[in-house]
């Protein structure tokens, strides 16, 4: 009799465990990006109604605050069940090398994700034979934005190379446009740099830079800084005081002709400013990078010692599924990482990006965490400062190489 009772008790307990429990999702998606996360959580609750979802959001653009909070929690032995992180080296160089993450390769196999995601992306997520996070979205970094009507007025076309860009810039300056290129605060300057570098080095050269095969002090890499310096001469001098939105505003208002920004700019212009993609505003790959898709991706990982591991795994399955990605991305203004998502759900910009995502060569972004570990990225700001202060390409290149050596880039 007592055995029976015990068995029933255990069975009840187990079934309760399977349906209930908690799931803590750690992210920096608040404000404009909140609804996209909410949509995913709603989907999760439909599937697992018994689970109490804790939305642990720490606000702050690009996760600057969230990452600090996450570090405190991880170091204190209190990891969230799953957390948002930029896919690639930002995760690998910080948490994977410290052996704090679970390998998700078996999940990728089980869900058929090795085929669902492009190989270039899987490569960026992999390190030492493991795959370390599930990408939920893809943003493109190397996009140049402009207003077609304004360009027509000025009589110029969107330039295809940086040399062409510099010529166009002179034309526009002669027509009285003080700063043809709109630029914002520090990180958007680095963002511009990575587009210049990708064009100067090509996709292979760019990849070699991060695997350590190409030195920053190589004449080819020094040339990046030379071009970058010339491009900066076309940009506004008050850049440091502008947010990326304010830099986009300058283009929209006709104070500048071009802006190089990730494709969240499309979301800003179409959702916030109510402009029509393709007609009111338009885009091309940043000069010299057509056929290359410089990507960044938000992803979720599974820290070792997560308190609700099974619930977190279910969350990861949802995040990587077609259903989950199509619920999330149209709201976030990004595209799905999967190749089989439904174009009808996206606007004109999203559809064009999806086409490029399937056909282009894929490389990772520096500023947004795909190709270099945090220890390099955070000091790259210093390299940028050295260049902006001294305007000396060799000095910047030397500093970049010194930091690369210090953090063991590519090892």
């Amino acid at each position: 009799m007592r055995k029976w009772l015990l068995a029933i008790g255990v069975a009840l307990g187990l079934s309760a465990l399977a349906q209930t429990g908690k799931l803590e999702i750690f992210s920096w998606w608040a404000g404009d990006e909140g609804p996209a996360l909410e949509a995913l959580i709603r989907l999760y609750k439909q599937k697992y109604p018994g689970v109490e979802v804790i939305n642990a959001t720490v606000t702050g653009g690009a996760g600057v605050n969230a990452k600090a909070v996450l570090k405190t929690r991880m170091l204190g032995g209190d990891p969230p069940d799953t957390f948002q992180v930029h896919a690639g080296q930002e995760l690998i160089g910080t948490w994977v090398v410290a052996e704090r993450m679970e390998d998700l390769t078996s999940l990728f196999r089980q869900e058929g994700w090795l085929q669902a995601f492009p190989k270039g992306l899987i490569d960026l997520l992999s390190y030492k034979g493991g795959i370390w996070s599930v990408p939920v979205n893809i943003h493109r970094s190397n996009v140049m934005w402009y207003i077609p009507a304004k360009l027509k007025e000025w009589g110029v076309a969107p330039p295809k190379t940086w040399a062409e860009f510099l010529a166009t810039c002179q034309t526009l300056k002669r027509k009285g446009l003080e700063a043809p290129l709109a630029l914002g605060e520090n990180w958007t300057q680095q963002h511009l740099w990575e587009s210049v570098a990708l064009a100067t080095l090509g996709a292979d050269g760019w990849a070699n830079l991060w695997s350590g095969k190409l030195k920053f002090t190589d004449p080819k890499a020094v040339a990046v800084w030379e071009t970058f310096g010339k491009v900066l001469d076309c940009a506004n001098k008050d850049a440091a005081g502008l947010s990326w939105q304010q830099a986009v505003d300058r283009v929209v208002q006709g104070q500048a002709a071009f802006n190089i920004m990730g494709d969240w700019a499309a979301g800003y212009m179409s959702t916030t400013l109510k402009l029509k993609p393709g007609t009111d505003f338009a885009w091309v790959p940043s000069p010299g990078t057509s056929g290359i898709f410089m990507m960044l991706s938000d992803s979720f990982g599974l820290p070792k010692g997560a308190k609700n591991r099974q619930n977190a795994l279910n969350w990861l399955k949802l995040v990587g599924s077609k259903e989950g990605q199509d619920a999330f991305n149209p709201l976030k203004g990004s595209i799905a990482a999967r190749l089989d998502s439904d174009p009808a759900k996206y606007n004109a910009y999203g559809q064009s990006a999806m086409k490029d995502w399937k056909t282009n060569r894929i490389v990772g972004s520096l500023v947004h965490g795909a190709v270099a570990p945090e220890s390099f990225m955070s000091q790259f700001g210093t390299v940028m400062e050295i260049f902006l202060q001294s305007k000396n390409p060799q000095a910047a290149a030397n500093a970049a190489q010194a930091i690369a050596n210090q953090v063991g880039l590519g090892r």
Partner: protein
């Protein structure tokens, strides 16, 4: 005896807490700053990081390392910021206090208005002033109200520097400054007739000055010149900081002014002192202790400044960088914990430099009583 035991028992918990949470952690921080925590990314955030003792390596890198140029600029920024912030707050506070001391109409109202900024946090102040100092808005559009063209002053965004000097000359300048200070001490000792002090200060001053002009000119910290100077972008930050704290100095000075006995002022008047002379020789010397305590408070605020700059210019903008911000970037964004700890220790030393002499003089006074 029983009283003593009770007193000890009552104090014990707080003693233990302060011992662990203040001095224990300072000690731990010091230890971390002497290790290589963060050099190897695989160890930086590991569950049990292996720390290796590297001595003063982190400090050496900060002052002479190739990639830590930003730290050195931040130190220069901090010195200029502290100087102008203290000067501005004390000067403006004194002026306001002197104006209010004459008892204008609605004095209480003005006192509240001037003191009010202090009620705000630096983050709020910083956000408001960032709006005011925008390149294309705020203060810069003021002239358009009168039909004039707008200013184009890039308050927070300029990269211009003035008073640029070479970091390599730092040993020379330091020796020069200390030598001249000791020379001044020697001169004072001579006037007061203290022969022993005169001898020692004259000797050490001489040694330093000779060293400065011989070896000091050729001692270089870096193999190449590295210019640093006063970033003009700091002007905006200093404006906001002075705006915030001058009300506080005003309140202190006002209390001091009101505390001066009327008899003293009347005596000065009877002696035929002009108003300016009264201020110069009677009022200001009496306010000296207030100036000192205000300097202590302002000084440690200046040395620890973080939130104001965070809110006004962000973390990434090097021209307005200070060591506290660079520490945050290194430790919490770049995972360079040991180097961050080293900056923390340097800041602690700087604050101690300001606070400890004050505490010592206070203690002496109490003992004398």
């Amino acid at each position: 005896m029983r009283d003593r035991i009770t007193a000890f028992l009552v104090l014990l918990p707080s003693l233990a807490a302060v011992g662990i949470f203040v001095y224990g952690f300072i000690g731990q921080n010091l230890w971390v700053s002497l290790t290589d925590w963060g050099k190897n990314p695989a160890q930086a955030l590991a569950l049990r990081p292996e720390l290796r003792f590297v001595g003063l390596e982190n400090y050496r890198e900060l002052f002479t390392g190739f990639v830590d140029v930003r730290f050195r600029q931040s130190v220069v920024n901090l010195i200029f910021f502290t100087f102008f912030f203290m000067g501005g707050s004390l000067g403006l506070g004194l002026l306001l206090a002197m104006a209010l001391d004459r008892g204008p109409k609605g004095e209480g109202f003005f006192r509240t208005v001037f003191l009010f900024p202090m009620a705000l946090s630096f983050v709020v102040t910083g956000t408001i002033w960032r709006w005011l100092l925008q390149p294309q808005g705020g203060v810069n559009v003021l002239p358009t109200l009168f039909g004039l063209p707008p200013f184009h002053f890039p308050w927070l965004t300029t990269r211009q520097q003035t008073w640029v000097f070479d970091w390599n000359q730092l040993p020379f300048y330091t020796a020069l400054a200390v030598g001249l200070t000791l020379l001044y001490v020697a001169w004072k000792a001579h006037r007061e007739g203290e022969r022993k002090r005169l001898f020692w200060s004259l000797l050490s001053s001489g040694v330093l000055l000779v060293w400065a002009f011989t070896l000091g000119r050729t001692t270089h910290l870096l193999p190449y010149p590295e210019p640093h100077g006063f970033s003009l972008a700091l002007v905006g930050v200093i404006l906001a900081a002075v705006w915030q704290m001058s009300g506080y100095t005003m309140a202190l000075y006002l209390a001091g002014l009101r505390g001066i006995p009327v008899e003293v002022l009347e005596a000065a008047k009877v002696d035929g002192a002009s108003e300016w002379q009264t201020y110069r020789h009677v009022v200001l010397p009496l306010l000296a202790p207030i100036t000192l305590s205000a300097m202590i408070v302002l000084g440690h605020i200046a040395l620890k400044i973080f939130d104001l700059i965070f809110a006004m210019a962000g973390l990434d903008y090097a021209p307005t960088d200070v060591p506290a911000i660079y520490m945050y970037l290194l430790a919490f964004r770049g995972n360079q914990f040991a180097k961050g700890a080293a900056i923390g220790i340097l800041l602690l030393l700087l604050v101690a430099l300001v606070v400890i002499p004050y505490l010592v003089s206070q203690l002496r006074k109490e003992v004398r009583r």
